[in-house]
Symmetry: C2
C-alpha cells in the first residue's frame, strides 16, 4: 500500500522521526527509558497469553467486551515497541491479531447486546462508540507495524478488518458519524486516521466535514461546537477529560499528515484551549465534581496525560511540565520523549491556576463556569456555576457554588451517585440516587423554590435555557462575579453575586455571597449549604431532633435528608462554625431577618441500600416571601492541631455584617473583632466600563472607586 500523505509509516500520533528519537532515547537513563522498560515488561507478560479474539457476546464489562478492549490496547503498545525495538515478535503478535480480526469481522452481524431500537449498534461491541475506540487504537497499531507486513498480509487486514470497520462507522452509521457529539468525534477520528494510513483522502474529508462534506457535521464542526470559545465542554470537566481523547489524537494525526491545515490554530487554538481548560478546572489535582462526576478523578487521568503530552509537544510551555510531573506518566511517543527529557532536565515551571470565567456554549454566550482563586492565605478556589445544563449528565444546580481551601473541599458538591463498576451497586452504573438526590437542586448550594428542582427536573427545558453571566472581575484584593437566570422557575428571577476577597491589612480572606430572589408571588425559598467537617458551634439556639429523625420532605431530593435540628435566629448575625479535616475552622455568617429558619440536615434518608454518603448541610429557609436577599460571608480561620496540642482562633472574628444598596452600588460590610471593617463595594449592572468612577457615601464620609469593585478597610 502506498500513502499519498506520507512517504513513511508510522505517521499518525507517532511519526517516523519520533521513532528515530525514541530509539536513541531508550539507551540513556531517564524517565523515558523507565517508561519504555515498564511498558516492555507489561507487554512481554501479555504476549505469553495466547491470542483471544472471541465471538462478540457481552455488553460493557462482560468478558468479550473486555477482551476486545485488551486486544486493541495490546496491539497499540506492541506496535510502539516494534517501532522502537524492531523486535519482530511485537509486530507478529499485532499481525496475527489483525489477521484474526480480518477473518472474524466480515462474518459479524450486529452485536447481540445492542440496545433495541438505538441507532448506534456496533458489531465487535454493543455500541458503535466502542467500535470507534477500537479503530482509533487499531489503525495506529496497524500503521506502526505496516513496514513489517507483506503486501498480501496488508491487503487481507485492510480488506477484512480496517475497511469494513471504517465503512461500518461512516457510511453505515451516518447518524452517529455526522452527530456533533463526543461519540461522533470518536467515529470521525477513527475513520479519518484510517484514511491517512490507507491513502483514502475521501475518508479524511468526510471525517473533517461530514459524510456529504457539507461541514454541517464532522470533526471541524465538532471542534467549533462542542467546546466554548474558552475551551469549556458543557458536560463539565469530568466528561471534558474523556471527550479530549479523540480530539487530541486526531488533531495530532492531522498535524503530522497535513500540517498545512493548521489544525492546532483552528478556531483560535481551540484544541490547546480545551486541554488547558481541563487542567484549570481542577483543585489539588482533582477535577471540580460538577454534574455527573466521580470525585476521585483528577489530572492524572490517561486522557489528560495524552492531552498534556501532545500540548507540550506543540507549545513547549514549561508550565505544562508541572502538570506532567504530577501526572507522573510518560507516554512512548515523540511528544512523550520531549516531556521526559524536559522533566529530566528539571525545566518545569509552576503552572498558573487563574481566576477566570470559562464561558459556556459554542458562541460563549450560554453562561459560564466561573473560577475565583487566591493564594494569600492558603490555596483557595471558589467555583461558581452559572453554566448551561450540559445535557443528560447535567445537574439542576443553576448558580450553585463550591469552596476549596488548604487542600480540601469546604463547601461541597456531591458529584455523581455511583460506585463505578461495583456490581453490587446497581451493576456499577449510575445509582437511582443519582436522579433522586445527586441531580436535584437541593443537593447543591443554590436556591430551591417551593421544594421543587430547577426546571422542575425537565431536562429538555433545562437544555434550552441557561443563566446569563452579568460580570466577572478579578484584581489583587477582589475576585467577583454575578449571574442571573429567569427560567429555572416560572416567574422567578434568581440572581447571585459571589466574591472572594482578601484584606491586605489584616490578611483575612472571605467568600461573600449575595443571592437575590425576586418574584411576583409568594414562595418558600431554601438556600442549602453543604459543608465538609464537624459542626463546632452555632451563635443561636438549636432545637435538635435528638431521639427521632424524620425525612425533611418527600420529593426532589428532600426525601433523602434527615432533619437533625432547626433554629430560628434573631434578626442580625447568625453564625455556623465547622471544623474541616484540614485543621481549619470555617464560619458562615448570615444576615438574618428574624423570619428565616436554619435547618440542619444529614444525608441518608430513604436510602435502603446505603448508597449515599452521610454528608452534612444546613438550609436557610424563608417562607412566604415574593422576594428575598440571602447575604452571607464564609470565613476560614484558626487552626486545630491536636497532634501538636494547640488550637488557634477557633472562634469567628466576624462580629458584624451589613448589606446596603446605594443607587447601582451594593455595599457589603464585614466587621471583625480586631475593630476593622471590610467594605466591599461593587456595581451591580452588566457591562460597565472599566474606567467608570463611582462615588458613594458611607457613614459620614464619601468614597469612590473605579471599575467594577473595590475592597475598603476602616479601622476603629
Amino acid at each position: 500500500p502506498l500513502a499519498a500523505y506520507a512517504a513513511d509509516h508510522p505517521n499518525l500520533v507517532i511519526s517516523a522521526a519520533d521513532v528515530d528519537a525514541m530509539q536513541g532515547a531508550i539507551k540513556q537513563p531517564g524517565r523515558f527509558r523507565n517508561a519504555f522498560l515498564a511498558t516492555q515488561s507489561a507487554v512481554d507478560r501479555a504476549l505469553q497469553a495466547p491470542l483471544a479474539i472471541p465471538m462478540p457476546a457481552d455488553a460493557g464489562g462482560g468478558y468479550t467486551h473486555e477482551q476486545h478492549k485488551k486486544n486493541y490496547q495490546l496491539m497499540y503498545n506492541a506496535g510502539v515497541l516494534y517501532q522502537i525495538t524492531q523486535d519482530p515478535k511485537y509486530a507478529e503478535r499485532v499481525r496475527d491479531m489483525l489477521l484474526a480480526y480480518a477473518e472474524l469481522y466480515p462474518t459479524l452481524p450486529l452485536h447481540p447486546k445492542r440496545r433495541p431500537g438505538a441507532n448506534n449498534p456496533g458489531k465487535l461491541f454493543w455500541q458503535s462508540l466502542n467500535e470507534a475506540v477500537w479503530l482509533v487504537y487499531t489503525i495506529q497499531a496497524y500503521d506502526l507495524i505496516l513496514p513489517s507486513l507483506t503486501d498480501a498480509e496488508a491487503k487481507k487486514i485492510e480488506q477484512g478488518a480496517i475497511r469494513p470497520v471504517a465503512r461500518f462507522l461512516s457510511i453505515d452509521s451516518p447518524k452517529t458519524f455526522n452527530k456533533v457529539h463526543n461519540h461522533g468525534t470518536w467515529l470521525t477520528a477513527g475513520v479519518g486516521m484510517a484514511g491517512y494510513v490507507l491513502d483514502e483522502p475521501e475518508w479524511v474529508e468526510q471525517a473533517l466535514l461530514d459524510l456529504d462534506k457539507s461541514g454541517k457535521g464532522g470533526f471541524l464542526r465538532q471542534l467549533s461546537t462542542l467546546f466554548s470559545p474558552d475551551g469549556y465542554y458543557n458536560e463539565g470537566p469530568y466528561y471534558q477529560r474523556y471527550a479530549l481523547m479523540p480530539f487530541v489524537t486526531f488533531a495530532k494525526a492531522i498535524e503530522n499528515n497535513e500540517p498545512e491545515r493548521g489544525i492546532f490554530e483552528y478556531r483560535d487554538g481551540i484544541v490547546m484551549k480545551a486541554i488547558d481548560t481541563t487542567i484549570q478546572l481542577s483543585y489539588d489535582n482533582l477535577f471540580f465534581p460538577i454534574n455527573d462526576a466521580i470525585k476521585s478523578k483528577g489530572i492524572d487521568t490517561s486522557e489528560l496525560v495524552l492531552g498534556v503530552t501532545i500540548a507540550y509537544g506543540q507549545s513547549g510551555d514549561p508550565q505544562l511540565l508541572d502538570i506532567a510531573a504530577k501526572q507522573d506518566q510518560i507516554l512512548l511517543s515523540g511528544d512523550g520523549l520531549k516531556v521526559a527529557n524536559a522533566l529530566d532536565a528539571g525545566q518545569e515551571q509552576p503552572y498558573t491556576f487563574k481566576s477566570f470565567a470559562f464561558r459556556d456554549g459554542k458562541d460563549g454566550d450560554e453562561g459560564a463556569l466561573v473560577v475565583l482563586r487566591q493564594q494569600t492565605d492558603g490555596d483557595q478556589a471558589l467555583v461558581f456555576k452559572p453554566a448551561a445544563q450540559g445535557m443528560g449528565h447535567g445537574h439542576f444546580d443553576k448558580l450553585t457554588w463550591q469552596f476549596y481551601d488548604r487542600g480540601e473541599e469546604i463547601v461541597t458538591d456531591y458529584g455523581a451517585a455511583r460506585f463505578l463498576n461495583v456490581e453490587a451497586k446497581n451493576g456499577g452504573r449510575y445509582l437511582a440516587e443519582n436522579e433522586s438526590w445527586a441531580k436535584q437542586t437541593v443537593a447543591h448550594n443554590t436556591v430551591v423554590v417551593d421544594e421543587t428542582s430547577h426546571f422542575d427536573n425537565n431536562l429538555k427545558v433545562a437544555n434550552q435555557n441557561h443563566p446569563d453571566l452579568l460580570f466577572f472581575h478579578a484584581d489583587d484584593q477582589v475576585k467577583i462575579s454575578a449571574a442571573e437566570i429567569n427560567s429555572a422557575y416560572p416567574g422567578v428571577r434568581l440572581k447571585r453575586t459571589l466574591a472572594l476577597v482578601n484584606s491586605p491589612e489584616n490578611g483575612k480572606t472571605f467568600a461573600i455571597d449575595v443571592f437575590d430572589v425576586a418574584s411576583s408571588q409568594e414562595h418558600q425559598l431554601d438556600l442549602p449549604l453543604h459543608y465538609n467537617g464537624q459542626l463546632v458551634d452555632t451563635s443561636f439556639r438549636l432545637q435538635g431532633f435528638t431521639d427521632n429523625l424524620k425525612a425533611l420532605g418527600t420529593n426532589n431530593g428532600y426525601q433523602h435528608l434527615w432533619l437533625k435540628a432547626r433554629g430560628k435566629p434573631e434578626s442580625g448575625l447568625a453564625q455556623v462554625t465547622w471544623l474541616n479535616d484540614n485543621g481549619r475552622f470555617y464560619t458562615q455568617s448570615s444576615l438574618m431577618d428574624g423570619a428565616t429558619e436554619l435547618l440542619f440536615t444529614e444525608l441518608g434518608a430513604n436510602d435502603p441500600n446505603f448508597n449515599l454518603r452521610s454528608e452534612k448541610g444546613f438550609i436557610a429557609r424563608r417562607d412566604g416571601v415574593s422576594s428575598h436577599t440571602f447575604v452571607s460571608v464564609l470565613e476560614p480561620h484558626g487552626q486545630y492541631n491536636p497532634s501538636k496540642e494547640f488550637t488557634l482562633e477557633a472562634e469567628s472574628q466576624v462580629n458584624a455584617l451589613d448589606h446596603q444598596r446605594v443607587g447601582d452600588l451594593e455595599l457589603i460590610t464585614i466587621g471583625t473583632k480586631d475593630g476593622a471593617t471590610q467594605l466591599l463595594a461593587y456595581h451591580r449592572s452588566k457591562g460597565i466600563a472599566a474606567d467608570t468612577r463611582h462615588t458613594f457615601k458611607f457613614g459620614d464620609s464619601e468614597y469612590s472607586f473605579t471599575g467594577r469593585a473595590k475592597l475598603f478597610q476602616f479601622n476603629n
Copy 2:
C-alpha cells in the same frame, strides 16, 4: 555554687561534652545545623518581646498559664543557644527571667484557680503538675546558663525561685511527690534534677526513693510500678507517650550525673522498653486510639521525639533512626546530634513492628494489649485488648479489637470524645459524650450483655479486675491470641480468640474471631462491629428505617445510636461488605444460627451539640441465651480505583464458614470460591507445651500439628 556531682555545667540532659560537639556541628551543613538555625530564628523573634512574668491568675488555657508555659520553653531554648553560641544575649534573657521569678515566687499564695479541696495546688499554675513541668524545664535552663552568672545572681535565683519551688513540690506536697503516678514522676524529676544542679544529694535521694527514702514512693518505685515488665503503661499509648517525658528526662540526667546507678539497666532496661513499646503501639505513625485518646496523635509527638533521641543516644540502634526520620525533628542536644549525624549518613534501617502481647500490670499478670501483625498482603495490624482498665482514662472495652489494613483503620475504636482546646466544645475538655458514648462498651467491638456496660460502668470495680491472657502465638501463617474475663458481668464468662492468618497458597488474609459467652442465666448478647467505610452489600435482606429513625436504646451508649436497618439472616453464612477509603473492600462473614439479628447503626442520636462523628456499625444481637459463640471472619479483598476506572474483586471470596470443637481443639474452616478451604486448628487451653502434638480427624482424613495452632489448606 559548687556541684559535688559534676565539675562542669551543664550536666543534666545536656552535658559539657555535648556542648563541645554541638559547637562543632553547627558549622557543618546538615540536619543539626538546620535545626539549630530554626531554633535560633524562633528564639531571636521571641526575644524581641519584653519580659512578661504575670501574677498568676488563670487556669489551664488562660493567659497567665500560657505565658508561664511560654517562659519556661523560651528559657530552655535560650539556655541551649547560649551554650552553643556563647552569645550572652541568650543567657541574659534567662537570667532576667529567673531573677524576676525569684522576686515573684516568694510572694505567691496558692493559685487562685486551684481546685477547692484538691491536694495538688500550684502557685504559678493552678495545679502542682504544671509547676513541676516548669521546674523540669527551668532547672535545665538554669544549669545551662549557670556559668554566665555572678555568685550573687545565682544565689538570688536559687534562694528566690529554685529552692522554694523544689521545696513546695517536695516537702510541701508530700502526697503528690510520693504518689506512684505520672504526676509524681514530674515532681520527682524536677526536684531530683534541681538536687543535681544545686548539689543537694538529699533531694536526689528523696526523688529516687520517696521523701522518707523508704522506696515506697519515688522515681524508682514509679519505674517499677507504672510500666509493665514489657514497658506497657496501663492508660494506653496516648497517655504513655505523655508519661514518657519526665521518665526519660530524669533518667538521662541521672545517667549523666551518676552513671554508676545504671538507671537505663534498671528493671531489665525498663526505660528503653517503655520508649520502644510506645513506638510499637502505633500504626502508620498514629497511636492505637484505645482509652481516652485523640486519634491524630502519633509518633511525631514531642515526648516521643525526646524518647527516641535519648534511646538512640543510649543504644545506637539504627532502627530507631527510621522512627526519627519519620518524626523529622532534631533536638539540640548531644543525643540529638547523634541522631542528626546518623540520619545525614543514611544509617537508618527499617523499624520492625512485631506481633507481641504487651503484658499489662506491674508484674505483667493483669492481662495484655495484644498486637498481631502481618505484611503478606499490605501492612495489617490487629489490636486485641484484654488489658486492665487503666484508671480514669480507661474504657469499658474488655476484649475489644481493632483492625488496620493498607494505611487505614478498618474496624475502629472511637477514641476520646474531645476537641482539644476548642472552647465551644465544652471548653476543650473531655465532652459529656466521652462518658455517655466513648467509654461505653457498645462503643467498642466487644460483647455487651443486657445493654449494660462492663462492670456496670463502675470504675473502682473495673480497676480491681482484669482479663486473663490465655495464650499468644505467632508464626509465619498464624498469629493468634485468646483471653477471658469473668468479672465484667456477674455470672458471665467472656472468652475471645482472635487470629490473623494468611494462606501461602492463595495469598488471602483473614482475621478470625471466636467469641464465647457463657452464663447460667439467659441474657441479651450484643456484639458490635464499628467499621470505617461505605456499606456495599449484605448477603441477606435488610429492613431499613428509611424515613424515620429512632435511637436504639436509652442508656449506656445505646441512646447515641440511630437504628438504620435490621435483618435476621437465615442459619448459615451472613456477609456484610464495605468499601474503605483506601480503595479496598472488606467483608465480614459470620456464622448465623437463624435467631441472631444484625442491627445497622449510625452514631449521632441524642447529640444536641453535634459533638459526635457520624460513624457506622452493625451489631450482632442474640437474645434469650445463656451461652453463645459468635464466629466470624474478616476478609480484605479487591480494589476500587475509580480514578483509573477499574474495580477488582468487589465480592467476597468466602462462601463457607464452619466452627467445630474436637476435644480441646477448635477447628475453623473457611471455604473460598476458588475451591480452596482454609482450616485453622488451634488448641484452646492455657499453657500447652510448644512441642505438644495434636491429632484430629476432619472429613475422612486425620491431621496433626505441633504446638498452639496451624493453618491447613485443602483444594477441591
